[in-house]
């Protein structure tokens, strides 16, 4: 009896020892190389609802780093990947671990809006470290209280609507629309971008808001005014699908204008009556499945060679790739030199001008926020599968959509009561 017991406790002790050893082995990894590597950290979302987008982001990051053979300026790039769950606190904990424990020089990330704002604030407390956005698109990450250590080479949710308001008012010649949108931050930003242009061009807008996760839109569909000439649907994922299905079943026939995340694969691959309305849907955003641009064709061809790649890269993959491209180019310019608190590197980052994978020209404004092209897209059936096809681009859209910054800031943050619909007078 006593033998069995001591054996058991010995086993426990050994297990604990092994665990400690494994843990310390993993933690204590002081990198001593002849030529110190550039330590690149990244944060994306590998768990929760955005997990596939996060995986796709790492797929393209790996692709771009492989193309450089993980070496810039004779220095090896050591890449540490971390995962958040789209919550600000978790992204912050991961970024802290990367900067303070793993001692990375640069972080690329995160994926979602609140995380971006949290990391922007964190970056302001650092010296000699740089955070470059991944795919997050909240305006305030760079518009209000910007941090000198935070750079964003992708456009934000408001910018993504550039050109759409004018297209609906002038080209489609629709004088009144009804916006049906989710009642949270991202749709607010998108509706703001749309309304700003559309109302300025003399259009009239009715708004119908519904909380995230709404499944029954019947009463809302009944409220759509008869005078509307088109529907602007700014929902994402399953909300958009539920609305479109019910609208189609109710016999709705208005032309559909979509927000930037309406035309994603959730909507396009789902079967149902909504498909009748989806084909021909016009939307705008930073990318499309089909863009007539050699840069994009080349990027997609390389992307498709990656293991488990989707038929077309996701929006997160494109945004992470755009941001990483900025980092790689700046690192090359300074020949991998991150000395002097990264002063030269950050200057090079801020001065970057390059073509994003989509072929859009990217440069940064004084808040280190991207000025770039936005695509107008239409859904077309190609070979039996619906795809978003870019047919026009709004060139060099800045964060305030051409409004002077003080005037834009004076409009206040987008919300359901601040839709950006200020009629031209």
């Amino acid at each position: 009896m006593s033998l069995r017991l001591s054996r058991r406790s010995a086993l426990k002790g050994a297990g604990a020892l092994a665990l400690t050893a494994a843990a310390t082995g993993a933690i204590k990894a002081p990198a001593i190389a002849q030529n110190t590597p550039i330590r690149l950290g990244s944060v994306t979302t590998l768990e929760g609802p955005f997990a596939t987008g996060g995986q796709d982001a790492y797929r393209t990051m790996e692709m771009l780093l492989q193309a450089e053979n993980f070496t810039i300026g004779g220095r090896r790039i050591e890449w540490t990947r971390e995962s958040s769950n789209a919550q600000a606190d978790v992204a912050l904990a991961r970024a802290r671990k990367l900067i303070e424990q793993d001692n990375v020089d640069i972080i690329v990330g995160p994926l979602s809006g609140a995380e971006g704002i949290a990391l922007k604030d964190y970056s302001a407390t650092l010296t000699g470290k740089t955070i470059v956005n991944g795919s997050s698109g909240a305006s305030d990450t760079t518009l209000r209280n910007p941090s000198r250590n935070f750079f964003r080479f992708n456009t934000d949710g408001t910018q993504w609507m550039a050109g759409l308001g004018n297209y609906v008012r002038r080209t489609l010649n629709v004088s009144e629309v009804t916006v049906v949108a989710g009642d949270y931050a991202f749709p607010y930003a998108q509706v703001f971008g749309f309304s700003l242009e559309y109302c300025r061009a003399g259009g009239k807008v009715n708004y119908l808001w519904s909380p995230l996760g709404t499944t029954d839109f019947a009463s809302q569909i009944a409220q759509i005014p008869r005078t509307s000439g088109a529907l602007v649907v700014v929902h994402g994922g399953t909300d958009g699908l539920a609305f479109m299905t019910q609208y189609a079943q109710a016999g709705g026939n208005l032309p559909i204008i979509g927000g930037s995340i309406m035309a994603d694969q959730t909507m396009l691959s789902a079967r149902g009556p909504h498909r009748r309305l989806m084909v021909g849907m016009v939307a705008s955003g930073p990318m499309a499945d089909v863009i007539d641009d050699p840069n994009w064709t080349d990027f997609v061809a390389r992307y498709k060679r990656m293991p488990n790649a989707f038929p077309s890269p996701s929006i997160h993959a494109v945004n992470y790739a755009t941001n990483l491209t900025g980092v790689i180019r700046a690192l090359k310019e300074v020949n991998g030199d991150l000395s002097n608190n990264q002063a030269a590197f950050q200057r090079a980052l801020a001065a970057q001008k390059f073509k994003a994978p989509t072929g859009a020209d990217v440069s940064l404004d004084h808040n280190r926020q991207a000025i770039s092209d936005i695509f107008l897209t239409k859904i077309e059936e190609r070979g039996g599968t619906p795809m978003t096809v870019a047919f026009e681009r709004a060139r060099q859209v800045n964060q305030t959509l051409g409004t002077p910054e003080p005037a834009f800031l004076a409009l206040g943050a987008p919300s359901r009561n601040n839709t950006g619909c200020i009629a031209a007078s």
Partner: protein, 333 residues
Amino acid sequence: MSAWLRTPVGMASAATLALLLLLPAILPELMPQNQARFWLANIFGRAIIYGIIAMSLIFLATYGGLVSLAQMSLAGVAGYVVAITIDGAAPSIVGGLSYATAIPLGIAAATLAALFVGLVSVRTRDIYLLMITLALAMGFFRFVETNLAWFNGYEGIRNVLGPSVFGLPFRDPHVLYYVSLTVAVLLYAGVLYLVRSPFGLVLQGIRDNPRRVAALGYNVALHRIAAFGVAGFIAGCGGVLATIYNIGISPGSIGLGATVNVLIMSVIGGLGHPIGAFIGSLIFAFFDTFAASIYDRNRFNTLIGIVFLVIVLLSPDGVIGLAKRVGALMRRD
């Protein structure tokens, strides 16, 4: 006091406290300087801060038999009140207050909110109490997430940098660590004192047999509500520290994930003694931070799950229970 110090528990407590006080000096001996600062603030500091919130749950569960899932929300109440009222937060909702005023206000708000939670759930027990507190927590979470005017919705309120303590910035890892440690030690001692006081004894009586305690003439409902208030005070202290540690607060800080994490910390540490909260919180902070380095990056949640499963399987009463069991085995050998 000196007699207590000579008991094994007393000696162990004193040794642990000494170790924790000397930790900022010990860590740099074990690892490079920057990693030592990381461990101090983001492993031990974080463990202490979330340990305080977990302790509020353990206090309720162990001495009142009340397993509440609302503790993280109550911490959030304190955090949000501070974020809303202090000067310099972004966006500024009310602003204008100094930390010296905002922090007591936040803790008072958490205590009041906790009394309300107690009032609502006073007639329920066990699984029903769990459900009703979960419902309140999720209700508060959704409210905060959709309300823009007061809570800035999904994006939350950032830039809560914390006060300076004796002229030193709160963001310094040493300041963060020592302030958290001081608060934790005071609350821990307070809990141990309270459970020996007449109030604590009545509370434990209620846990074991509410009818008998009622027959003795005590007001059972009032004691339960008061216990919630005490736990809310503790959670509020933790919530203020967590908000400053996270440089702000957003709905994700009080969502379902965060709520369940507090329960996980308490269970792996061990419902049974307040120290379990801090042990559980330390294990949680360690694995939450390093699981991705130890194990496959895409699957690191599996490792966290397995560790917690193993602890709970080996010892249903957490690490404390494990320690007790090993101690008992040693004596039998």
